[in-house]
Amino acid sequence: MEIQVFGSGCPTCKKLYEMTKQAVLENGLNFEVKHITDVAEIVEMGLLRSPALVIDNEIAVAGRVPSTEELKEIIARHNM
């Protein structure tokens, strides 16, 4: 499973990155979470809002930071 957090490096984006890593861990999974800060890549992904969570090239969350519970749920859903 490929997990990416897109964000131009603002505090909110970093928060989502940290929370996602935490959620992956708490789900007992061992995937690397990538933090992508390059604007060109963000735009090429078709994103207009940051931060965003992209799992296997599918935009799961855009423009907001969900709760840890919701993140865990999203990750679990994609891992099935």
Binding site: G7, S8, G9, C10, T12, C13, V39, A40, I42, V43, E44, M45, G46, L47, L48, R49, S50, P51, N57, E58, I59, A60, A62, G63, R64, V65, P66, S67
Partner: protein, 303 residues
């Protein structure tokens, strides 16, 4: 402890309690409403609405949509590139870019709670007008060449973003957003109201009238200058401004000050530099500054 109702301290305390409760209720209600409404207007949809629009109509539309859109300065760059890439005219993009941060719901709520609906409406309308004018000017002069060249080379993707949310989910997300935002801004609101209450109680009547009254033509530009570094704290500043108005600060000057806080934010300028060449960034800042100062003079003169 008994506090005499007519003592200065009692009056300041009364002022503090009434305002802080009133603002809390308004903040929660309006932020919730706006963020719920916003879930129907994601930027992906806005982009489609604005693409290939005629200028002017597009500018007005962009500025109106900007009212309900939040603005995290970190989204400015992807949003800008995504818009111009998909055929939203540059001027229309700018109208949106000005209106989104300038007319924000927190500032509007505080104005509504502290000054009443007329001032809140004036603030919103002036913001929209400035956004439209800025966009129309930038569009008229065809300044596309002043956008950083790499912007035009990026191919924007079109990955679909979840937009099939059910109502319960929209409500849940709006509630979460409201709670987080409230938690972040309410402490500074309280501090602002507290300071305002003390100014209300202790500062001499009309002490600003001589200093920054309508007679002083430098008051408006100076207020704008002071407002620029305060960008993150519109919430805490507005209650203080209210107290200052009671002490003789003219309304137009106060309005210019508040607009400068939300519209001319330093971090946003730095971020926009990534996509705008210095010339276009200067034009953008100049139009905004002149617009805000003009609004200040206009309301000092009218009111």
């Amino acid at each position: 402890m008994v506090i005499a109702k007519n003592s200065i301290f009692g009056e300041a305390l009364n002022f503090f309690i009434t305002d802080s409760i009133k603002i809390a209720i308004l903040l929660v209600a309006i932020i919730f409403f706006v963020s719920f409404l916003r879930s129907y207007l994601p930027p992906e949809k806005v982009k489609k609405v604005l693409a290939n629009r005629f200028e002017f109509v597009g500018n007005i539309l962009a500025a109106m949509i900007g009212i309900v859109t939040p603005f995290c300065s970190c989204s400015a760059v992807p949003l800008f590139i995504g818009f111009v890439e998909s055929g939203v005219p540059l001027g229309v993009t700018f109208s949106y870019l000005v209106s989104a941060p300038m007319v924000n719901e927190v500032a509007a709520v505080l104005l509504l709670g502290l000054f009443g609906w007329k001032i809140a409406l004036i603030y919103v309308v002036s913001g929209v007008v400035i956004a439209v004018v800025t966009g129309v000017i930038i569009g008229k002069f065809k300044l596309e060449g002043w956008v950083e060249d790499y912007v035009w080379k990026i191919k924007a993707g079109s990955t679909a973003v979840e937009d099939t949310k059910i109502l319960a989910q929209r409500i849940k997300e709006a509630r979460q957003y409201t709670f987080n935002l409230f938690k972040n801004i309410y402490p500074s609101v309280l501090l602002g109201v507290l300071l305002g209450a003390f100014i209300h109680g202790y500062a001499p009547e009309n002490f600003l009238a001589s200093l920054a009254g309508k007679g002083n033509i430098f008051a408006v530009p100076l207020a704008v200058l002071i407002g620029v570094p305060l960008y993150s704290n519109a919430a805490g500043t507005i209650p203080i401004v209210k107290a200052l108005i009671e002490k003789g600060l003219p309304l137009g000057t106060a309005l210019a000050f508040m607009m400068a806080i939300t519209a001319l934010s330093l971090p946003e300028m730095i971020i926009l530099r990534k996509v705008l060449k210095p010339k276009l960034l200067s034009v953008y800042i100049a139009i905004l500054t002149v617009g805000v100062i003009f609004t200040g003079y206009l309301f000092n003169w009218v009111m």
